[in-house]
């Protein structure tokens, strides 16, 4: 987006809309780019694809080329996207930073253009720098699915978390299929979701805090100031901070735990023992303060640190369900990215390619 859009006003302007289309509309970069009807369509499509007979599903993106470009390690997200693409019939290729020319200093732009020239029609990107998917999407014109960028966002995780929540609470009432839950601003009315842990470094926390309140949920962020600065509450409406974990648990229908990202803690003075004492979700805390709450964790989890095994493996845990829902949601995102409109723009991109 160019800030020249509407200057004089731009000078004093405080709001820049995020609806610029300088990238492919099939992209999934920030959860804020999705309207509630978009979210509704994605979840409906996820349900439809999941229910579809496998051979039929495998024809949907037959022989389409999907590149997975991973600058950071990943188990769940990478495998989930790859399985999603393959189950729709697409060919996938994995490029990871340590075994490619990225190691030789090739830029993100050139890596993207190279993948496009090799026939990639969609790029799934995980990158340590916030905002990297915008750059890749602008430079390649391809649909880019953000599989996590720095401390910014992880939109497919927020969508699969939403699907998980809806499958267990809310209007679904444990009976009707997920696809029937209409997505609107009241879908999660009365639901409080507490996200606890390293909020500062968490792209999952940001995407969820930007999505869930739009469906009527209250999002409570919980953690010590080192990992949860006051300004986090200003990320959007419906988000507040509660430093006392037990008080937060007591009002929650969902307890989402986050990993302490030791690799990003450099320079922060964090007393891990004290952290565990105050913020670990263990069986006793769960029984006392949130005996009905759904327990979630985007993974990877460090058992014994932010969560104990009895909780992670217990009946309230939806942690493996989250992983399961990931495949369906990512099938829907891929189908959306490579749908009819995407095919048109792929031809345009091919034409624009230098001879």
């Amino acid at each position: 987006m160019k800030i020249s859009a509407n200057q004089p006003a731009a000078a004093a302007s405080s709001q820049q809309t995020s609806s610029s289309f300088s990238w492919h509309p099939g992209s999934a970069i920030s959860i804020g780019h999705f309207s509630l009807p978009d979210v509704d369509r994605i979840l409906a499509r996820a349900a439809k694809l999941e229910a579809m007979p496998v051979p039929r599903r495998a024809k949907l993106l037959q022989k389409r080329r999907v590149a997975l470009l991973f600058y950071e390690s990943s188990t769940r997200t990478r495998t989930s996207f790859e399985l999603a693409a393959k189950s729709l019939g697409a060919d996938t290729v994995l490029v990871s930073a340590l075994s490619s020319s990225i190691e030789k200093g090739e830029s993100l732009k050139d890596t993207g253009l190279t993948l496009r020239a090799l026939g990639a029609e969609c790029i799934i990107l995980r990158h340590p720098n916030s905002g990297a998917p915008f750059l890749l999407a602008r430079e390649t014109g391809l649909p880019v699915l953000n599989a996590g960028d720095g401390m910014h966002e992880h939109p497919s995780q927020a969508l699969l978390d939403l699907r998980t929540i809806l499958s267990r609470i809310g209007r679904a009432q444990h009976t009707r299929p997920v696809a029937r839950v209409p997505i609107d601003e009241k879908t999660l009315a009365g639901v409080t979701v507490t996200i606890t842990g390293d909020i500062l470094h968490s792209r999952v926390a940001r995407s969820n805090a930007l999505l869930l309140p739009r469906l009527g949920a209250q999002v409570v962020l919980c953690g010590p100031p080192e990992l949860l600065p006051e300004m986090a509450a200003d990320i959007g409406p419906g988000v507040s901070i509660e430093r006392d974990f037990e008080r937060a648990l007591a009002r929650s229908q969902v307890a989402m735990m986050l990993r302490i990202q030791k690799e990003r803690l450099a320079g922060l003075q964090l007393d891990l023992a004290r952290y565990i004492e105050r913020y670990r979700l263990n069986g006793e805390r769960l029984r006392r303060f949130a005996p009905e709450a759904l327990v979630m964790h985007p993974g990877p989890m460090i058992r014994g640190l932010e969560i104990t095994s009895d909780v992670a493996d217990g009946p309230q845990s939806a942690i493996t369900e989250q992983v399961h829902h990931g495949v369906a949601v990512r099938m829907a995102l891929l189908a959306r990215a490579l749908g009819a409109t995407a095919a048109r723009s792929h031809r345009a991109a091919t034409k624009a390619r230098p001879a």
């Binding site: 800030i3 020249s4 200057q7 405080s14 995020s18 916030s130 960028d149 300004m231």
Partner: protein
């Protein structure tokens, strides 16, 4: 060189207290006469002077930018002294002061002289600012007396703040002894590691590490405290590219206490806020970063009330491949020489009603006073014939650049203040043409 008569214009020369229709006669590269309209016609005819009609135009001293990066020696792929000074001329500048963060760092009289050599083919006057410490490493002072003798007009480790109390005090003291101001890039780098924009709710949402207001204001406060212990010396602190209300307040208080502190503000800081980062637009990444609307309004108030001494661009050219990177990896800075007048007129004059004469002051006599440039910034008789002609209301679109780099968020903007001619030592540079290349 033939004489030039500039006739029918509105002369704004804040240092001389003039804002009225006046004609100017330029001869031998200096201002030969300033007179009432028509008063110089006979003298001009006598000298077969070339006549420049300036009706409807402002005639002002050539602008002075005390903070530019011309990238030579060593980074000629970003900018050269030749290209940067042509961009400056296109923006109405006749004097620019070049920061020392070149490769190698300008910490020696040899490099200081090299930058001013005729071989650099500068279109306008280039006055080097030399490094405060060897290699700008913040440890060992350079030879200020020798640097001044070689032509340096100030001392700075710009881009790298002088953090140590003792070395900063020594720099101010040595600067005082030889008569050079010390320009500080005020940033406590101990708390800005990895930061790429203003710290706040927006940086949190974008997942970018932020640079706090205190990172700037604490260094400004520290420097002012040091200066306060040196009242018996002519030590002079100049705060570069001041960007926050808190730092501005500190400067305002220090000035009130009679301390020799001056400061400059960049056009992007009074025109844009952190919101311009948008979707990680690397042309909105600079250091100090774009700040909040509250900071922006405070800067505009400071520009209006005299707390701010100068508008300076911090012109920082970078090659396309450097700005086409991930936001956090891309280098800081944008170009600014060609848009300084337009942004000043649009934001300060049109939107905030700051008088035209004050804006001209901030671009001429203000910066001249900061660096004690006695030959620049005014058009009284006998001074070098450095001036600019512009139409304050006529708009133009920033579409091409004379700079080697195009890293400006203002490309495509339509701005007021068309420059018609920049004249250096009586030589006319037409921005529509090659600018004396």
């Amino acid at each position: 060189m033939s004489a030039i008569l500039i006739r029918g214009g509105r002369l704004i020369d804040p240092a001389a207290g003039i804002d009225a229709p006046h004609d100017l006669l330029l001869e031998q590269g200096i201002v030969a006469a300033v007179g009432a309209p028509g008063e110089l016609d006979a003298a001009a005819r006598e000298r077969h002077a070339t006549v420049i009609e300036a009706a409807g135009r402002v005639v002002a001293p050539g602008f002075i930018d005390i903070h530019v990066h011309l990238r030579e020696p060593g980074q000629a792929y970003k900018e050269t002294i030749a290209s940067g000074t042509r961009a400056a001329a296109a923006g109405g500048f006749t004097t620019v002061c070049a920061m020392p963060n070149t490769t190698p760092v300008n910490d020696s009289p040899e490099i200081t002289r090299w930058m001013q050599a005729p071989e650099r083919n500068a279109a306008i006057r280039v006055l080097p600012i030399a490094a405060a410490t060897r290699g700008s490493m913040g440890e060992q002072l350079t030879d200020y007396a020798a640097l001044k003798k070689a032509g340096a007009v100030a001392i700075s480790d710009d881009g790298k703040p002088i953090l140590g109390d003792a070395i900063m005090r020594d720099a101010l003291a040595l600067g005082a002894r030889v008569g050079l101001p010390v320009i500080q890039h005020a940033e406590n780098t101990d708390c800005t590691h990895g930061a790429s924009m203003n710290l706040g709710a927006l940086s949190f949402r974008l997942g970018l590490r932020g640079m706090s207001v205190e990172a700037e204001s604490s260094i400004v406060a520290r420097d002012i405290a040091l200066l306060a212990t040196m009242r018996d010396t002519p030590a002079h602190l100049h705060v570069a590219h001041l960007s926050t209300a808190a730092a501005l307040d500190a400067v305002r208080r220090a000035k009130g206490e009679g301390l020799r502190v001056t400061c400059e503000v960049a056009p992007h800081h009074f025109t844009l806020t952190e919101q311009a980062v948008g979707d990680y637009d690397t042309h909105a990444k600079m250091n100090p970063p774009l700040r909040s609307e509250q900071d922006r309004m405070a800067l505009i108030a400071g520009l209006a009330d005299g707390t701010v001494d100068a508008i300076a661009t911090d012109h920082a050219p970078h090659a396309p491949h450097e700005k086409e990177q991930e936001f956090e990896r891309t280098p800081n800075g944008i170009t600014g020489l060609e848009t300084a007048l337009g942004l000043s007129l649009q934001t300060l004059h049109q939107e905030h009603k700051i008088p035209l004469a004050r804006i001209v002051e901030l671009l001429t006599s203000g910066p001249a006073r900061v660096l004690n440039l006695t030959q620049c910034g005014s058009l009284v008789k006998g001074r070098p014939a450095d001036l600019v002609l512009f139409s304050p209301d006529e708009t133009w679109t920033y579409a091409t650049s004379h700079s080697l780099s195009k890293n400006s968020p203002f490309l495509g903007w339509t701005l007021p203040g068309r420059i018609h001619a920049t004249i250096v030592a009586g030589r006319v540079l037409d921005p529509e043409k090659s600018l004396g290349a």
